[in-house]
Symmetry: C2
Subunit: 346 residues, 2 copies
DNA sequence: ATCGTTAAGGAAAACGATTTCCATTAGCTT
DNA sequence: AAGCTAATGGAAATCGTTTTCCTTAACGAT
C-alpha cells in the first residue's frame, strides 16, 4: 500500500555518485567532498525532494530520537504547559515527543513504559508524583532499570519512589510563600486544605505550609487542617466542613487552585463575601484562577519554564555536552489578585 | 554510549534456532513451527527479556507506527481532551502519538509537518481550523500532497482550506442549540460575541447562531453582534462595549466559554446580577465553566469522544479494515446550569 | 520403490541509512 | 624520478528485523 519512498540510492544515481558520498554531504562529514560534487548532490536532493528516513538512521545509529513523557492528565493545564515547554526545545533538535496519558491508571502507566522500551526511547520523563501501590512500584522499578541499562535517561519531575534523577518543582517553597503572604497581611487563623495522600506533591506542599507557620511560632491546629483531593468538588466539601465546624477563621489556603476555586464558590454560595469575610488562596495559577470572581491570589508555578529546562537538560545529556545546568530551578512568583483582604490597615 | 540491545540473533542462538524461526514465533506466522521449538523460542525470549526493535521492524515493513497531531495550543483543554481520546485508542495498537504545539505560528506548523514527513508518519491529524495566510496555505498544501503521496493519511478536524478529509465537530449545530435554548426560555434580545475572523470555527458558529434566529424570523441587529477573540479579556471588552452601547438586552451568547466567562465577570463587576439581570451562555463546556459563579450554561462538545472516533478511524484506515464508521459524528449536549434566567414564568 | 504432499527449518536478500576500509589521483619534496 | 601526503571517491559491512526461496525429512498413496 505505502509507496516506497525516495532513498539515498536514488539521489546517488541521479547525482552520479555513490550513496557514500551522498551520506557524507548529508551529514557534513569530515571526510572531504569536492565542492562541485557536493553541489551536484545537493541539487539531486532538492530535485528529488529527498528526506532521509529516520528509521534507517535510527537503526544504524542506535538512536530513536524519541523522548517519552508520561503524564497523569494532559487536560491538566499544569502538565500541558510542561509538555509545551519541553516540546519547544526538543523540536529544534529533531526529537519526537511521545506523550502517554495514564489517568493515574497503573496498567496504562506500565503499558506506556513498555512501549517506550520497545521503541527504544532515548529519554523518559515521569511526571506527576507517586503512586504508592506496592506491586506497581516493583514492576515500574524493573522497567526503569531496564531503560537505564539500555542507555535511556529516566527523569522524574517531583518526588518519585524510584531511584532516578528528579527535578524539583518547588512545591514546598510555593506553599511557604503563599502562607507567608497571608501572615504578612495579618492573618493568623488560617485553615489548610490538603491534597490526596497518595501524591508526593501533597506532602511537599503540606511541609511548606507547616514551615511557614512554625517559623513564626504559630501553632497548627488539627481542626483547621482538612482533607481534600485537588478537585473543585473537594474544595467545596472542605469549605462546608470548615463552615460547619469552625469559627474565627480569617483565611484558608487550598493546596491547589481547583480546590481554592471550590472553596470560594461554596463560601459565596453560603452568603459569604470574598475577601471581606474570608480570604482564600491557592497554588498553581491555572487559567481559571484569573477568571474567578474575585480573581484568585495564588502562586504561579512557571511550569512552561520547567518544561523548557527539562528539555534542555535532556538534549544536553543526550548530546553529552560538557557543562550545563544540571539541576534547573524554576522561579516561583506570587500572583497577587483580589481574593485576600489585608488585616493590617484596620 | 548506548548499549547494543538484545537482538533476535541473541534469542536465536540461545534457543538453538535461526533468526527466521524466532521471527516466525514472534509474528505468529502462518509458516508452521514445531510446538516444542516454539516453546524453546518463547523461553529464550523471556529469559533474555527480548523486545523487538521497532525501528528495524518499521524499516522493513515501511511502517513508522507514528501518528502526528498538530494542535495550536495543548493547554486548551479542548485539544488536550481530543489528544487523550485519540491516544486511548491508538495505544492499543502500539502506535505512537506525536504532538506538535504550534501556537498558531506558521513556521512551527511547517516545521511540524516537515518532521512528520521525515519520520514517515503514517497519519497526520490537523486540528484547530484555518490559518488564512496565503504563503502558508501554499507551502502547507505542498507538504500535505507529499505526505499523501507517501501513503500517509491526512485528516482535518473542523474546516480546512486543504483538500483533505475532514471531521466535523458540529460547531454550527452547537451555536444553533444554545441559541434555541435561549429562545425557548423566552429571550428575544440576544447579543452575540464572535470569535477571531481567521478561524473556521468562528464562521461555523456564527452560521449556527444566524440560523437559529432566522428560523424564528427574528431579525439580527448589527449592533448586537460584537467582535471577540475567544479570550477571557476579549469577553470582558465585549461586555463593556455591550453595556455602553445597548439597552434592553436580556441575554448574550458568547461563541466560546472563555469569552462567556469574561462577559459574566465584567457584568458582575459592573454590578449586574447573573442571571437575574442578564443571561449568559457559552460553547465548549471547559472545566472553568463549572467553577464559575453562577456555573455557566453551555454546550458540551464531547471532544474526548471525537478523539476516540478519530483514533478508531485512523486505525481502521491504516489497517485497511473493511467497514467502519467513515464519518464519525459526535453527540452534542446542552449543559444546563445557572447562568440563564427563564423569561416564561413571568 | 517411487511419487507427491506437508511439516519444519534455514540461508540470504532486503529495508535505508552510516562507516570502515581501501583505491586512485594529484601535488609536493627531495 | 621516487616517495609521501592529502584529497576524493567507492565497495562492502553493518544495524535488527522480515520474507522469499530452498532443503530436508517424514509419511501415506500408488
Amino acid at each position: 500500500m505505502t509507496v516506497r519512498s525516495i532513498s539515498i540510492k536514488d539521489v546517488a544515481r541521479r547525482a552520479g555518485v555513490s550513496p557514500t558520498t551522498v551520506s557524507r554531504v548529508l551529514n557534513n562529514s569530515a571526510h572531504p567532498v569536492n565542492s562541485k560534487t557536493r553541489r551536484r548532490v545537493k541539487a539531486a536532493i532538492a530535485e528529488l525532494n529527498f528526506h532521509p528516513n529516520r528509521l534507517a538512521q535510527g537503526l544504524i545509529n542506535n538512536k530513536s530520537h524519541l523522548i517519552g513523557v508520561i503524564v497523569h492528565d494532559l487536560s491538566d493545564p499544569y502538565f500541558a504547559e510542561m509538555v509545551k515547554g519541553m516540546e519547544r526545545v526538543i523540536i529544534k533538535y529533531d526529537y519526537i515527543v511521545n506523550i502517554y496519558n495514564t489517568s493515574r491508571d497503573v496498567d496504562k502507566e506500565l503499558k506506556a513504559v513498555d512501549l517506550l522500551r520497545a521503541n527504544r526511547a532515548e529519554a523518559v520523563v515521569l511526571t506527576g508524583g507517586t503512586l504508592l501501590d506496592q506491586h506497581y512500584r516493583e514492576e515500574m522499578a524493573g522497567y526503569i532499570k531496564e531503560l537505564q541499562s539500555n542507555g535511556s535517561i529516566v527523569l522524574g519531575v517531583t518526588a518519585h519512589p524510584f531511584n532516578i534523577k528528579s527535578i524539583e518543582l518547588g512545591n514546598s517553597l510555593a506553599a511557604r510563600l503563599i502562607t507567608n503572604y497571608l501572615l504578612e497581611q495579618g492573618h493568623r487563623a488560617i485553615a489548610y486544605i490538603n491534597g490526596p495522600a497518595i501524591l508526593g506533591t501533597t506532602n511537599e506542599r503540606w511541609q511548606g505550609f507547616q514551615e511557614a507557620l512554625l517559623a513564626r511560632k504559630i501553632p497548627i491546629r488539627d481542626k483547621w487542617i482538612v482533607a481534600g483531593d485537588f478537585s473543585f468538588e473537594g474544595g467545596r466539601r472542605a469549605a462546608r466542613q470548615l463552615l460547619d465546624e469552625i469559627t474565627g477563621l480569617t483565611a484558608v489556603v487550598a493546596s491547589n487552585d481547583e480546590m481554592a476555586l471550590g472553596v470560594m464558590w461554596e463560601f459565596k454560595n453560603q452568603g459569604l463575601a470574598i475577601p471581606d469575610d474570608l480570604s482564600v488562596v491557592g497554588i498553581g495559577n491555572i487559567p481559571a484562577a484569573k477568571y474567578a470572581y474575585p480573581p484568585l491570589t495564588t502562586i504561579a508555578l512557571p511550569i512552561f519554564d520547567l518544561g523548557v529546562q527539562i528539555g534542555e537538560y535532556l538534549i544536553n545529556t543526550l548530546g553529552d555536552k560538557g557543562s550545563f545546568n544540571d539541576q534547573p530551578e524554576v522561579q516561583l512568583s506570587l500572583v497577587e489578585r483580589d481574593s485576600v483582604r489585608s488585616l493590617l490597615e484596620v
